[in-house]
Subunit: 402 residues, 2 copies
């Protein structure tokens, strides 16, 4: 960890890694929520597939309403009714109207729909009191989506409205990337698993459930491989298992400069270290590597640092696993003003924990990045780049929900 | 749908409904991501559980370093080493130091840790070159969390850092609310299921996969009951099944004023309508009801309106199902300036689709709320209250990620 690199450089190194891309599978549009699209979606049909009524009312010929007014209403003969789903399509001639409901196909001859509220109905006629323009209350064939148009590109994270659009084009199933399986290895002689009584000189391994959850939020399958001792053969055994069983590996802890911090040393024997040490606060000792074409993210052991570096780097790895898909959360930032001056004297990119209320971000002091409890007050992160020495209440700064 | 109520009133009606609260279950901290806490979390232990080194270095007595300087270094005798997890705790006396690693218990007699980088080591002594203050580089017992303190209240949506904190307090499993099962019933004679070839006068039921996904995003189990015809016995059959099999019901479509819009009419026979019709755009015909102590949300059939009213109302219902838990997404709003004037002339709460770039929100015109494809450009929603006629580029307005 001698040559720290900038956050930008670390991100750039990760976003150009050459790793094994996940395979694809077909899933129902009902099961595709949060999955990553592995195909372009080109509309095979026009949406709507036919011109239809956008309102309940009467299908008419706009020409028949010309110069109609309260004092000189026009009278049209009602020819019948088109009920939703009724395939028995009629046609109208001059002077005629057909009762129609939202979503029904516009009958031949009609070019507008007059709303129910705007006519006076009698048994076999309607009275119209104003001029209706052609096209009124009609959803035209293809006006939402044209057949042949590219709707969504490969790599999109599928949200509800995407699935609405995809299925409105007629797709019942689509190709998505398989969910990645990600292994977690915690390291450190000092650790014991959560739930055991914390014996006097041991530390509960609370980082693993935390990172497990963070991976679940990103829609990953997780394989938790337990705690590796600070002992090379033990770590190698767990790493080999992780590489054979999963698509990506996360190690937690053992990244500092002490003699017990063997993680990066051991990994360098199995693969290629991309970086170890980033000019970032918290999280300086983090790192990344490639073993057998599979990415390994090495998180520091301090909980706050582990979580923030995970959030910074793992989404990039995920995007690479899915053939450069959209990076989860990439566009979910907004702008705030710092409530107080926040200084950044050390030439590091500073990930500042803040509590945002309206457009003001109040920094939450984390005196010690082992203190995860301070994060209870945090709802967002402001990132101060390494070349900015301070931000003030006059600055508008970028912020991400935590 | 004669008496429209305000959005505020609709929200207030929903947030005071009396419905069956979901039961609880215990889950492992590894499996609790996104679940809703059904118990208060009170720390049973101090965290850290013992005072420990926050750095690799030497445990010393701060008194022994008084007035040490580059020119007058103090020399301490190294008594041994405390390795992570080593239970063999030593004690130091005046003039002594013990080598120690991050996370190790501070030996008796010591009250500070001097960093490895700040000493000169020889075989059995270290030289110190500056005064170290008591407490330096020590994480004290209980400094993160005090035993007995309330960490998290019932009702929190569990995020990664919560699970880190909970497990650092020694919990292996916790009580959470069961996932609700939510039924979806689509209605309308005009509908056919997705994947079928759209016949000339039918509409693909794309709302159901969309709302299915939106429910999955909120961590619900979903029971899709298919399409009910606009025919009372058919709708009653599906509603009865939904009420018997699930904790909440969502209907889609059939909420307008036409004679085919029977949903609210039929539901009023089975239970109590809370409201039908809200001064909101889009989504005016939406509604809510209670049948057998179970909530029913009635969404309009237009896709954009269905999705936006779902997002507005269903999180409140979810919170009620979990005994007034935190409302999902409630605090995830931020502030933007409209790029152009946006008018709101109709006395409705206007949910404006916008594309936010930096702090500017550009309204995305949705000429027709059947056109879901316009939503592809939308990344956030700005809400203009019904008593505000317009917002201008000088206003700072509240915005939610879509």
């Amino acid at each position: 960890m001698k040559d720290l690199i900038s956050l930008k450089k670390a991100e750039q190194l990760l976003s150009t890694i050459n790793i094994k891309v996940l395979s694809k599978k077909r899933v129902s549009v009902f099961k595709a929520c949060g999955r990553i699209l592995a195909q372009d979606i080109v509309a095979p049909i026009d949406v709507p597939f036919f011109s239809r009524a956008a309102m309940d009312g009467y299908a008419i010929r706009a020409e028949d309403t010309q110069n109609a007014s309260i004092n000189h209403p026009h009278i049209l003969k009602v020819k019948g009714e088109i009920i939703n789903g009724n395939q028995n399509i009629k046609e109208i001639n001059p002077g005629e109207a057909i009762k129609i409901y939202t979503g029904c196909i516009i009958p031949k001859g009609a070019n507008a729909v007059v709303k129910l509220e705007d006519v006076e109905e009698s048994s076999s006629t309607i009275k119209l009191f104003k001029t209706i323009l052609p096209g009124k209350n009609i959803s035209y064939k293809g006006e939402d989506i044209h057949s042949g148009s590219l709707i969504l590109k490969k790599g999109r994270i599928l949200k509800p409205h995407h699935l609405g659009i995809i299925s409105s084009c007629g797709f019942k199933s689509i190709s998505v990337f398989k969910k990645p399986t990600v292994s977690i290895i915690a390291t450190g002689n000092e650790l014991i698993e959560v739930g055991f009584n914390p014996s006097i000189a041991k530390t509960l391994n609370s980082n693993s459930p935390m990172i497990y959850c963070a991976l679940k939020e990103l829609n990953c399958n997780v394989l938790y491989l337990g705690i590796a001792k600070d002992y090379e053969p033990d770590l190698i055994k767990k790493l080999s298992l992780a590489i054979s069983k999963s698509d990506a590996v996360i190690t937690i802890g053992g990244m500092s400069v002490g003699k017990m911090d063997i993680v990066s040393k051991v990994i360098s024997k199995l693969g290629k270290i991309l970086f170890h040490g980033v000019r970032i606060k918290p999280g300086k000792p983090c790192g990344a590597a490639i073993i057998d074409n599979k990415p390994v993210l090495m998180l520091p052991g301090y909980p706050v640092a582990a979580l923030l570096t995970f959030k910074k780097f793992f989404p990039i790895i995920l995007s690479k696993l899915m053939d450069n898909s959209e990076i989860p959360g990439k566009d979910m930032h907004f702008f705030v003003k710092p409530k107080t001056k926040i200084s950044n004297p050390n030439g590091l990119t500073h990930l500042v924990n803040v509590s945002v209320y309206k457009y003001l971000a109040e920094p939450i002091k984390v005196s010690n990045h082992a203190k995860l409890s301070t994060m209870l007050k945090v709802n967002a992160i402001v990132e101060i780049p390494e070349n900015i020495n301070e931000i003030t209440p006059n600055d508008l700064v970028e912020c991400t929900f935590f």
